[in-house]
């Protein structure tokens, strides 16, 4: 059983609201960078204050608990993954997540959430493109994030 | 009402010993058949009248008779019911009516005379006095049906006097479960419900399966149209079924059993319930049976009126309270059956055979039948035979021997009733032509010929039966009864029904025959359960042996048997018609023109004619012809 391979570290004090993370995510996961494909959303919390919001990969996730067909699970890698073959589109997870990080894409008919770019080489693109090191990657087993 | 509970095997044997020495078995018996068939012909008032008449006899007349009247189960010769038999004389009366009762009592019971007009008549018309001389019975080997018709199913003592529960006593006192299992395996008993699967093998794989809890089930669904052997056994010898199940449970070391009875057999349920109650009260069922330490009990489960529930996995769902739908058979019921626990399901007749095997031994059983089909089989012989009813013969007997032996031959002698085909195995089986009359009746021979044994239905057909219509009938039955879960059966059989119906209507094409074969192959290969898989068999077998009849319908727009309504016309031969007007009165479609007057003759308007045949049935001059 592999242990946690990577974690995304978010330091909202460094967020300047540039939304590079959103763009990077949208281009990685969507077609032509449509904003709705982004799993990361930068929220404005006050004057010049921003926070990038994406899945917190909870240890005891509400989304996992809420799914009536057990389509969501915390993997040994530490990432919460949705099995879209199993998903029945009931939307329970999108409401249950207390942090609002579960999204439904109506055009694709799929649930999407941040999976730390698991299908894209385990290299979170948001962290790659964050100019202020607000988003960094921590690899418990190996090198520290970029 | 069973009063005594037998605490040990010795207690029971002592009781049986007392019964035998009491002369109970030697009393004169007046047996009145009260099986469902005879009740339908009016046996209930006859039995009532007999009972009353005997009860009203003055004591000085009644006592010396030493007679007991019994309402028994089905005697088998259902064609001739209501049946009344006087034993030990063996006087066999047929078609008895309540008005015959006073004469029976005064002349036969009291006077020891034989009433000739009530006797059974053989093929030449001669009256036959004795039961044992009647071909129908003489040519049978009644093993599973041994007690049916001879005992009052409500009487445990009757059953005990015919060696009832002796096999159980033997098993409980001298055999281990493993020994019982080995005996059944040695006997090579194959299931009598249709599948013909080796019962010993089934039991063995259930016993080897994982799990503490096991179940046994008796399949009393008997859904095949025209099959009523299990009906008569459950009604007429319920203890036989119960004893078989107790022995089976002992071998399998299981403690719970079910008898699944189809919705349409209320009398069977009633008799089984009473027998179960009596068995429990007698210590033969329940905790610590006859002091042996073995506990087992049986519950009756009733069907809801679905043929598909005769299929073992659908039956189990039905017992569980779910909709009767089969499930994939890769997981065997002996591993995961009822409530996902190892289960043995066997047919009524199979369970009764278990008792016989334990009574007389595996070698005795193997001494009957063929190499791969041991023992006997009960058949429901129906159709254009003289003696419709239940016939039990050794496996390996030929079709000809059955139909022309106990069957008594064709209903109408000579060319007018010439044999055409015999249908075996119900809706899963096929039609066999005259050329195969000498086929041995056993599991494998029938399957090789394109039919199957099935549960024992055997329908005899003559030249007035249209084989295409027979195929259509079975297809229609199956589309009605299909559970509808899988595509090949639900849609495929329905489409097959459409194609064959169109042929019957004269709208078929030769290409339809290839289509039938192509679709049938897909249904046989693709269906989820045996209902679908064997559904095309009637069509395929009739196509194989009676292809020219199909072609006549298609190319000549003709139904050679004169059955398919769209292809026949009724007409009146004016030369023979005497203007009596009986046909006019019988016609429900107002299709007959003419006025009743001697010398006048009638005409049928073919456009209005419904082809119901009522006119031909009433015409005394034979003036109405079908073309």
């Amino acid at each position: 059983m592999s242990a946690t391979i990577l974690r995304l570290v978010v330091k909202p004090q460094h967020c300047i609201g540039c939304r590079s993370c959103e763009l990077a995510c949208a281009f990685t996961h969507g077609k032509d960078g449509q904003p709705a494909a982004s799993r990361c959303q930068t929220v404005t919390v006050g004057k010049d204050e921003y926070a990038p919001m994406m899945c917190l990969q909870c240890d005891h996730a509400a989304c996992v608990q809420s799914c009536p067909v057990s389509a969501i699970a915390l993997q040994p890698s530490g990432i919460v993954i949705v099995d879209n073959e199993r998903c029945i589109r009931c939307m329970a997870c999108t409401i249950a997540c207390p942090f609002g990080n579960m999204h439904f894409d109506p055009s694709a008919g799929l649930i999407h959430k941040c999976d730390l770019c698991a299908k894209h080489g385990d290299y979170p693109r948001c962290a790659m493109f964050c100019p202020t090191k607000c988003l960094t990657v921590d690899r418990p087993a190996g090198d520290a994030g970029r | 009402m069973q009063a005594t509970s037998y605490q040990t095997v010795d207690d029971l044997r002592a009781h049986v010993g007392k019964l035998r020495s009491s002369g109970e078995a030697d009393r004169r018996r007046l047996l009145c058949c009260c099986g469902t068939g005879c009740i339908a012909s009016g046996a209930a008032p006859v039995a009532e009248a007999l009972h009353k008449a005997l009860a009203e006899l003055p004591a000085d007349k009644r006592a010396p008779l030493n007679l007991v009247m019994k309402r028994t189960g089905c005697h088998g010769l259902c064609q001739k019911g209501p049946l009344v038999v006087l034993m030990p004389e063996g006087t066999f009366y047929t078609s008895v009516k309540p008005k015959d009762v006073p004469e029976i009592v005064s002349r036969s019971v009291l006077g020891g005379e034989v009433i000739e007009r009530l006797l059974y008549r053989d093929a030449s018309g001669k009256p036959v006095q004795k039961y044992s001389a009647i071909d129908f019975y003489a040519k049978q080997t009644r093993v599973a049906m041994r007690n049916v018709g001879q005992i009052d199913p409500a009487s445990l003592d009757d059953y005990l006097l015919r060696d009832g529960y002796q096999a159980l006593c033997k098993v409980l006192t001298t055999m281990t479960p493993e020994q019982v299992m080995q005996t059944v395996e040695k006997a090579k008993l194959r299931g009598r419900g249709g599948g013909g699967f080796d019962a010993g093998r089934k039991w063995r794989s259930c016993k080897s399966a994982k799990g503490e809890l096991r179940y046994i089930i008796c399949n009393g669904d008997e859904g095949d149209p025209g099959a009523f052997m299990d009906c008569s056994i459950m009604e007429g010898d319920p203890h036989g079924v119960i004893e078989g199940m107790i022995i089976g449970a002992y071998a399998l070391e299981c403690h719970e059993g079910y008898i699944y009875v189809r919705q349409e057999y209320p009398l069977a349920v009633k008799h089984l319930q009473r027998a179960l109650g009596d068995a429990r009260a007698a210590g033969l069922l329940g905790e610590n049976i006859l002091g042996s330490g073995f506990s087992f009990d049986i519950t009756i489960a009733r069907g809801g009126g679905a043929f598909v529930c005769g299929e073992s996995s659908a039956l189990m769902r039905s017992v569980e309270g779910k909709v009767g739908e089969p499930r994939a058979k890769y997981v065997h019921a002996t591993d995961k059956g009822l409530w996902d626990r190892p289960t043995v399901l066997n047919n009524v007749e199979t369970w009764v055979n278990v008792v016989r095997i334990m009574e007389r031994g595996a070698d005795w059983f193997c001494g009957m039948g063929t190499e791969r089909s041991k023992g006997t089989k009960a058949f429901s012989l129906t159709g254009k035979v003289k003696h419709t009813g239940i016939v039990e013969v050794e496996m390996g007997t030929t079709l000809r021997q059955i139909i022309f032996g106990p069957g008594g031959g064709m209903l109408v002698e000579g060319e007018g009733g010439r044999f055409k085909a015999v249908q075996t195995g119900g809706p899963s089986g096929g039609c066999l032509p005259e050329s195969l009359l000498d086929l041995s009746v056993d599991f494998d021979s029938l399957t090789k010929a394109g039919s199957m044994m099935g549960s024992g239905g055997m329908i005899v057909m003559d030249h007035r039966t249209c084989m295409v219509d027979v195929a259509r009938y079975f297809l229609h039955f199956l589309t009605d009864e299909s559970c509808g879960k899988c595509v090949p059966c639900r849609e495929g059989l329905w489409q097959l029904d459409r194609i064959v119906s169109r042929i019957c209507e004269g709208k078929g094409a030769e290409a339809d025959l290839d289509k039938i074969e192509d679709l049938s192959k897909a249904i046989e290969l693709g269906s989820l359960c045996a209902l679908g898989k064997s559904g095309p068999t009637p069509v395929l077998s009739t196509l194989r042996y009676f292809r020219d009849e199909y072609l006549a319908h298609i190319k000549d727009h003709r139904c050679p048997a004169g059955v398919c309504k769209a292809l026949i016309t009724y007409s009146i031969d004016k030369a023979l018609c005497d203007g009596c007007g009986a046909c006019l009165a019988a016609c429900a479609s107002s299709a007959i023109l003419g006025t009743p007057k001697k010398g006048d003759s009638f005409e049928i308007n073919t456009l209005k004619c419904d082809r119901c045949g009522a006119c031909a049935a009433v015409c005394k001059r034979g003036a109405i012809a079908i073309s």
Partner: protein, 287 residues
């Protein structure tokens, strides 16, 4: 416990408890299905995923089994496109095309198997009905795969099920009336492969099976959530989550969480040491 088996001549690794269909998919071998879905137990009703199986020990005997239900086993040899398999598939699709000639999915699948027009009698457009019974869904596109009833049983309230037998079998509700147990989750409509089950979403409510359900309104902003009131109550109970998990919309949840993060950021910028205050209310997790 891992072992190897052969599918179409290709060696495939499989493990105990796996079914042939899953093993084939992992090996990249496509087997068509209609009544199969990860969220529900396999049913074996469409017969489309039929495969031919054998083992050396079976001495040439080959069985036709549905891949969705047949267990993978060591030394199993599977053929997914044998002549008999294709014969069954072609006929099944031809029959389904006769049943639902207007279904785009069936038309496409049938065409892929060489059936462009059905060779059978098309089904009557309106099945015979008992007087007083209404058609709750247009009967044209239902292929009776059973996915809707199974998902309703597995993930919802078993509000719908199949009724009647044989050719008259259909997906129905208790006595043909709008189902009292339905929670309006639309799982049946989403899982239906042919789009037979219809529903209407106005943005504030949903109508399906002739019942209208109000959508939950976000406690903070009042916008409708994508779950109905009944669905929220059902989920809370069944998934053992406090009902408060189903009261706010995604955007408001995100906003309130972002506010918390913003506060943390402020403290950080002010040089204050970050100490967790009262622990965040843990999720009520029942294993």
């Amino acid at each position: 416990m891992s072992f190897s088996m052969m599918i179409n001549g290709k060696r495939v690794e499989a493990h105990d408890g796996e079914l042939v269909l899953a093993a084939a998919r992992r090996a990249g071998i496509h087997i068509p299905t209609l009544c199969e879905h990860e969220a529900v137990e396999p049913f074996g009703s469409c017969r489309l995923c039929m495969v031919e199986v054998t083992k050396e020990a079976w001495k040439g005997w080959k069985g036709l089994m549905t891949a969705c239900l047949y267990p993978a086993a060591p030394d199993l040899i599977v053929e997914t496109e044998s002549e008999r398999v294709l014969h069954v598939r072609r006929n099944v699709l031809d029959l389904l095309l006769a049943r639902c000639p207007d279904s785009k999915l069936i038309q496409r699948l049938a065409a892929e198997h060489g059936v462009h027009r059905t060779t059978f009698t098309p089904r009557d457009s309106e099945p015979s009905r008992r007087e007083g019974e209404r058609a709750l869904a247009a009967p044209d596109l239902c292929i009776l795969c059973g996915l809707c009833t199974r998902v309703c049983e597995t993930a919802a309230t078993a509000a719908i099920c199949t009724v009647k037998r044989g050719h008259a079998r259909e997906v129905g509700t208790p006595w043909g009336t709008p189902p009292p147990d339905c929670i309006g989750c639309l799982a049946c409509a989403h899982i239906c492969p042919t789009g037979h089950i219809v529903f209407v979403e106005t943005g504030f409510d949903r109508t399906i099976w002739e019942r209208t359900f109000a959508l939950v309104r976000c406690k903070d902003c009042g916008r409708p959530l994508p779950v109905t009131v009944e669905q929220a109550a059902f989920l809370a109970k069944r998934q053992q989550l406090d009902p408060s998990y189903f009261e706010r919309c995604e955007a408001c949840q995100r906003q309130s969480t972002a506010q918390v993060f913003g506060r943390m950021a402020r403290w950080n910028r002010l040089g204050l040491v970050q100490e967790p205050s009262a622990p965040v209310k843990p999720v009520e997790v029942k294993p």
